[in-house]
């Protein structure tokens, strides 16, 4: 084993490199566009003074490498530039929308785990049974399911036909005033304000988007849990545990503990993709989160907003990956000490 100090330095170096690549990708996005930057920044007919100022501000007369470095410094400093359409600072626009996205993802991941883990375990323990086939078929169907179609099917049934769910128009009924920002979650904030009408509305708005996302997460998770548990069932230590006549519950715990690193790594790998799926779900439900902002910006070719959005999702996924790595290391330490 190498010293922890060197490991940390190596990981930090890797993190810096990864961040720079992500910044470079977002930088390239604007370079790909075929509109001259002066037109994009200064409107169709910029005056010479405006042109000169823009060239100075953005270093447009400098080589691409220098432009990139200036860009990287600005981005890493959290200055994402201004939207071409609204003129608002992109970083601020993204920041105010972050709680909406985090809230949606948090509930969906929890519910998705509640769906995915038990069904995956049950399917693996009854491999080949009718139950297993239904779970596996459902999992594959979920993998093939476009997020927007599932959202629309749920809306058709529960909003249009049964009229149980509210219209897909954001996070709270349009006739209500959103609660004052405490945590940024309309649901939690209205509970804290003891506003039962707002609470009920915020909760109702959450149900369909969370269900959509949770079903998609659950489908992917079911298949990966099933696969990981199946591998565990073939190990010698599991055969020994079974031969000892342990109860089904204990056997499940043993298999799950062995499968946990695989499941954890798999879930971790899927996180970036989950951000993409979340954006689509937000788009359908007009959720007003980061994802919807990003997709709207793409439709309107508002490139500074697209850049900021891509940068932010990349950084977010990188951060979650790093945190997951820390959790994994701590867990391994605990297991080896125990």
């Amino acid at each position: 084993m190498d010293q922890p100090g060197r490991t940390i330095l190596r990981l930090l170096g890797l993190a810096v490199f990864l961040s720079l690549v992500i910044v470079a990708i977002s930088f390239l996005l604007i370079k790909l566009g075929n509109t001259p930057p002066l037109v994009l920044l200064g409107g169709p007919n910029p005056t010479p003074e405006v042109q000169a100022q823009l060239v100075g501000d953005y270093g447009l007369n400098q080589p691409a490498v220098i432009q990139f470095l200036r860009y990287a410094v600005r981005m890493l400093g959290g200055e994402f530039g201004r939207s071409w359409l609204t003129g608002e600072a992109v970083a601020g626009e993204l920041f105010v929308r972050l709680p909406a996205t985090v809230e949606l993802m948090l509930y969906a991941v929890l519910l998705g785990a509640l769906i995915g883990v038990p069904t995956g375990v049950a399917a693996a323990f009854n491999r080949g049974s009718a139950e297993d086939r239904v779970v596996r078929g459902g999992g594959l169907l979920g993998e093939a399911m476009p997020a927007f179609l599932l959202a629309l099917l749920l809306l058709l049934v529960f909003f249009r036909w049964l009229e149980l769910a509210p219209a897909p128009a954001g996070r709270i009924s349009v006739v209500l005033t959103p609660p004052p920002t405490i945590t940024g979650s309309y649901f939690i904030d209205s509970v804290l304000m003891q506003d039962s009408i707002a609470t009920r509305s915020a909760l109702a708005q959450l149900i369909l988007p969370v269900t959509t996302l949770a079903l998609l997460i659950g489908a992917t998770l079911t298949l990966s849990v099933r696969g990981a548990i199946l591998t565990q069932l073939q190990t010698a230590h599991f055969a020994y545990a079974r031969a000892q006549g342990m109860s089904r519950e204990l056997l499940t715990v043993i298999a799950l503990r062995g499968a946990a690193p695989t499941i954890w790594a798999g879930a971790n790998r899927q996180f970036a993709a989950l951000l993409g799926t979340t954006a689509v779900v937000e788009f359908v439900f007009a959720w007003g989160g980061v994802g919807q902002y990003g997709l709207d910006a793409m439709v309107k070719a508002d490139l500074p907003a697209v850049q900021g959005f891509i940068l932010m999702t990349g950084a977010f996924a990188l951060l979650v990956h790093a945190l997951a790595g820390v959790v994994r290391r701590i867990a391994r330490l605990r297991f080896t000490r125990a």
């Binding site: 996005l29 997020a147 927007f148 489908a219 970036a272 993709a273 799926t277 793409m298 891509i310």
Partner: protein, 296 residues
């Protein structure tokens, strides 16, 4: 030679239902879509652009089994016509991905050292950006056109194939295959082209259905969001987008049927991919559905 290939393919297909039911069903769905696409111009009474002013937004009936859209066009004919996009764009993108990505992965795996490390770290870094969103952003930056859609999806597929190819070549290093071939006196270019490429491509080919499924899903999201595909085309995602506002008002068939076609074709691809994994005993390198993407 061709006769032998056809005979081998025939015996493979005959034995398939016994060996993998999933793969057979998947293949059946793909063949079904291809057949419908080919037969539509001669066998279907309505054209995709044919306007029937007497039947605007009519619910599914015998005359129009999937109903008509807001312009009085037959939804069934349009869904069948959209199969062209669903086959052509993902296949072109995956092909582009193999052509761009496989050589890079092959060389990196063969050369090893710093080039290999750099490639791995680059792919890892890009993998943190949600692949679906990156593909959409690329199209948004390049401007809307079908060619840009293929390029954007193809670039992300290239990352996948570079990574997969590199892993295969490294596995061959470990098995001693490469050392053996070098000891036999093969120069590196000859080794790469004659020995590594055929052996690795065959293994990578098993991933194609899953990658096509990912490309299909990404194309549909582009259409649904309204990035890249032309307005009023019969691309399924685009058809769903145009149908959504109608669905909230009542007529659901213009939005839901193209979506179901997408689901069915995607499910067929996933079944085929799962069947191939079962047959070859290889675990998939990455999941490829709505949640799937380029792994890091």
């Amino acid at each position: 030679m061709i006769g032998r290939v056809v005979r081998r393919l025939g015996s493979l297909l005959r034995g398939l239902p016994r060996r993998s039911l999933a793969a057979s069903f998947g293949l059946l769905i793909l063949v079904g879509f291809a057949a419908v696409m080919a037969a539509r111009p001669i066998a279907w009474p309505h054209g995709p652009a044919q306007v029937d002013t007497a039947h605007i937004l009519k619910a599914p009936s015998l005359r129009h089994p999937l109903g008509t859209d807001a312009n009085g066009r037959d939804v069934a004919a349009r869904v069948m016509d959209g199969t062209r996009y669903a086959f052509a764009v993902p296949l072109a993108a995956v092909l582009l991905g193999i052509v761009l990505g496989a050589p890079v992965g092959l060389i990196a795996g063969l050369v090893g050292g710093f080039a290999d490390l750099l490639l791995r770290r680059l792919i890892m870094a890009v993998g943190f950006i949600p692949p679906l969103l990156l593909a959409l952003a690329l199209v948004a930056a390049m401007g809307p056109s079908l060619r840009h859609v293929v390029i954007a999806i193809g670039l992300l597929e290239a990352m996948f194939f570079a990574r997969a190819m590199r892993a295969e070549v490294r596995a061959m290093h470990e098995s001693g295959f490469i050392q053996g071939a070098v000891a036999m006196g093969n120069a590196l270019p000859r080794l790469a082209l004659l020995h590594l490429l055929p052996n690795t491509l065959a293994r990578i080919a098993g991933e194609i259905p899953r990658r096509v499924a990912w490309a299909l899903g990404t194309l549909a999201v582009m259409g649904f969001v309204g990035v890249g595909t032309a307005a009023d085309s019969t691309e399924w995602g685009e058809m769903v987008r145009e149908g959504v506002a109608l669905m909230y008002a009542g007529p659901w068939w213009p939005a839901i049927f193209p979506g179901l076609a997408l689901l069915l074709l995607g499910f067929g691809l996933q079944l085929l991919a799962a069947g191939i994994s079962d047959l070859t005993g290889r675990r998939p390198a990455a999941l490829g559905g709505a949640m799937g993407g380029v792994p890091h």
